[in-house]
Amino acid sequence: MTDANAQAPRTSLFAPDARTARRNNSEARFRLFGLISVTIGLAALVMLLSSVLFNGTSSFRQTMLELPVTLDAKVLDKKGNRNPDDLAKVTTIGYGRLISDALDKAITDNGIVVDGLTSKDVKDMISKEAPAQIRGRVLANPDLIGQTVSFQVLANGRIDGYMKGRVTLETAERDSNVSVNQLHLADALHEKGLLDMPFNWLFITAPDASELRPEAAGLGVAILGSAYMMIIVLVLSLPIGVAASIYLEEFAPQNRITDLIEVNISNLAAVPSIVFGILGLAVFINFVGLPQSAPIVGALVLTLMTLPTIIIATRAALKAVPPSIREAALGVGASKMQSIFHHVLPLAMPGILTGAIIGLAQALGETAPLLLIGMVAFVRDYPGAPPEGFFDPAAALPVQVYNWTQRADPAFVERASGAIIVLLIFLVIMNFVAILLRRRFERRW
């Protein structure tokens, strides 16, 4: 040894040798790669978010016409006895005329000159949904009949597009659905304050609307459907998943059968979601006979999908609890069950919650299996209050996005992006709740 030391030439610490330089270089390279990967990831996220926000934020404002509509009793209630059955006989066509008259009157009252537009052209600037809205209001409150009530009615989708910059005077010339003169009139109405863009509550509360009425399409049914499904998924998958994990991790004997179960759970997490949809269709709808398009079926399918995620996360969290805690509990004479529920589970809780929220977030954004069980259907009726409402037809947020992107009218692009924003807000809220819960459990020490 002393010989070897003697022969080694004395090197200065100030001059790094070739080997050290190589090692440092490789470290620098690795750091650079890491930085590049993170940058790419961030850039993708920024692009995604900015595209969604750019396209979608406008859906939270909606062009509305503020019109004083005279609810003429002669038109709406010919018999004059306010009988609900008779009132219901007046169709939207009757109300359409009232609105049309109201708009004409508003135009003349404000001294706006209408160029080259027939009365029908002017009427077409109002959404076809508007008469139905007013009819709904009147049927709900027949006392309005005979009065002149100020209503906010939806403008046509093209007018809305013009206000938001999607439709321009040039595109209008080539568009059979809207004329340049109508757009000029819209400008004039806007100047007089008759036409405005308030916050679009209808987008959040209203049900979906037909292909021809993008201005009236809303997320109400989809949000309710998704919320119902998340409730059921949480109620089913968290206890089942945690119980299964505890059994597998703490109680199950180590043998072939448990090995097989473990492998299958891991594989289940990788099964394409559409397969779960087929399963749901075959088992829950065809075999069990549950209704189509119902949140209960969607939730059962999503529960099956979420379970592996929760089980894997929970088992990892249970494994991460130091064995000394179990020993300590057993050492003072706690039973196995007590040691798990008093000591292991609270320590594993943050991990379990993270897994559960990840699973739920996955389920919230899942589309494919819901298409197969019929949640893609056009549903305009709100599902009832739970628990009966779980069996009523409903839509789901991601399916609504899918639905709207399928439609021809460009106004639905904006709606779809808006729906994505709503979906993202829900995900952010869920993650925030997860962080809060985790902190609450962790702060205990």
Binding site: P322, S324, A328, V332, G333, R444
Partner: protein
């Protein structure tokens, strides 16, 4: 070995607390403990010494059936606690462990408050009827573990926030809170500094008045300081068992002599 404080102690008047006969332990295929016979006396500190892997911890964990938690572990032979075989199928290990408490190598307080750490055992065994009784048990346990004065003002503080030595004494308090008859200690001082070690050793000597204490240790000085009887394990065999003074001054077996003089181990 001159520095060892070896005192002649009259231990033969004590009765047998634990009697082990022909105990064999297997981990899967390997034979970890080979036919061990030991009598552990009441109100006595018994030390298990021996080189690493000799089976002393394994044997200790047989005494309160902590080995039950290891799937591949099998125990043969009989271990009697006050004449009752603890491996009898009728025995519930949960009940046994309330009588045979255990302190581990690494301090392992629960991530709960100091109070809850000590109160946990009495609570799950239903030893107290009300809060006042529980408070009293917690206080006496902490006093016996010589940590009361340090923690009495912060019983609601987390047990994991204490220093290593305090944590270990808290674990001892937790173990004696269920009023066990035997206290097993698996290298209780190996993670502690000399001052904390001295405190724990002093404590062990005091605990002898109420419990039978069995301690596994790597430190022969410690065995000599705290124990009245010493068992030397080697390769799964109980080589020699006798009074501590005799083991350290006049070992009968050449292997014991080699170990205590530092030639094997």
């Amino acid at each position: 070995m001159d520095d060892l404080r070896i005192v002649e102690r009259d231990v033969n008047t004590h009765t047998n607390k634990i009697t082990a006969r022909g105990v064999d332990v297997f981990y899967g295929g390997s034979h970890a403990i080979k036919g061990v016979d030991v009598d552990i006396l009441d109100n006595t500190v018994t030390a298990f010494i021996g080189p690493s892997g000799c089976g002393k911890s394994t044997f200790l964990r047989c005494l309160n059936r902590m080995n039950d938690t290891i799937d591949i572990c099998r125990v043969k032979g009989e271990i009697l606690l006050d004449g009752e075989n603890i491996y009898n199928p009728k025995v519930d290990p949960v009940q046994l462990r309330a009588k045979v408490g255990m302190v581990f190598q690494k301090p392992n307080p629960f991530p709960k408050s100091i109070y809850d750490n000590v109160a946990y055992g009495p609570k799950i065994h239903g030893l107290t009827r009300n809060k006042a009784e529980l408070d009293e048990v917690v206080e006496t346990s902490l006093r016996k573990a010589a940590i009361w004065n340090e923690v009495k003002d912060r019983l609601q503080a987390p047990g994991t926030g204490l220093s290593g030595g305090q944590q270990q004494r808290l674990c001892i308090a937790r173990a004696i809170a269920t009023s066990p008859e035997v206290l097993l200690m698996d290298e209780p001082c190996s993670a502690l500094d000399p001052i904390a070690t001295a405190q724990v050793e002093e404590l062990i000597d005091e605990l002898r008045a109420q419990f039978s204490v069995v301690i596994v240790t790597h430190s022969m000085q410690q065995a000599a300081r705290v124990s009245q009887r010493t068992a030397f394990f080697h390769l799964g065999n109980l080589v020699e068992y006798g009074e501590t003074g005799q083991i350290f001054t006049a070992p009968k077996d050449p292997r014991t002599e080699s170990y205590i003089t530092g030639r094997i181990g």
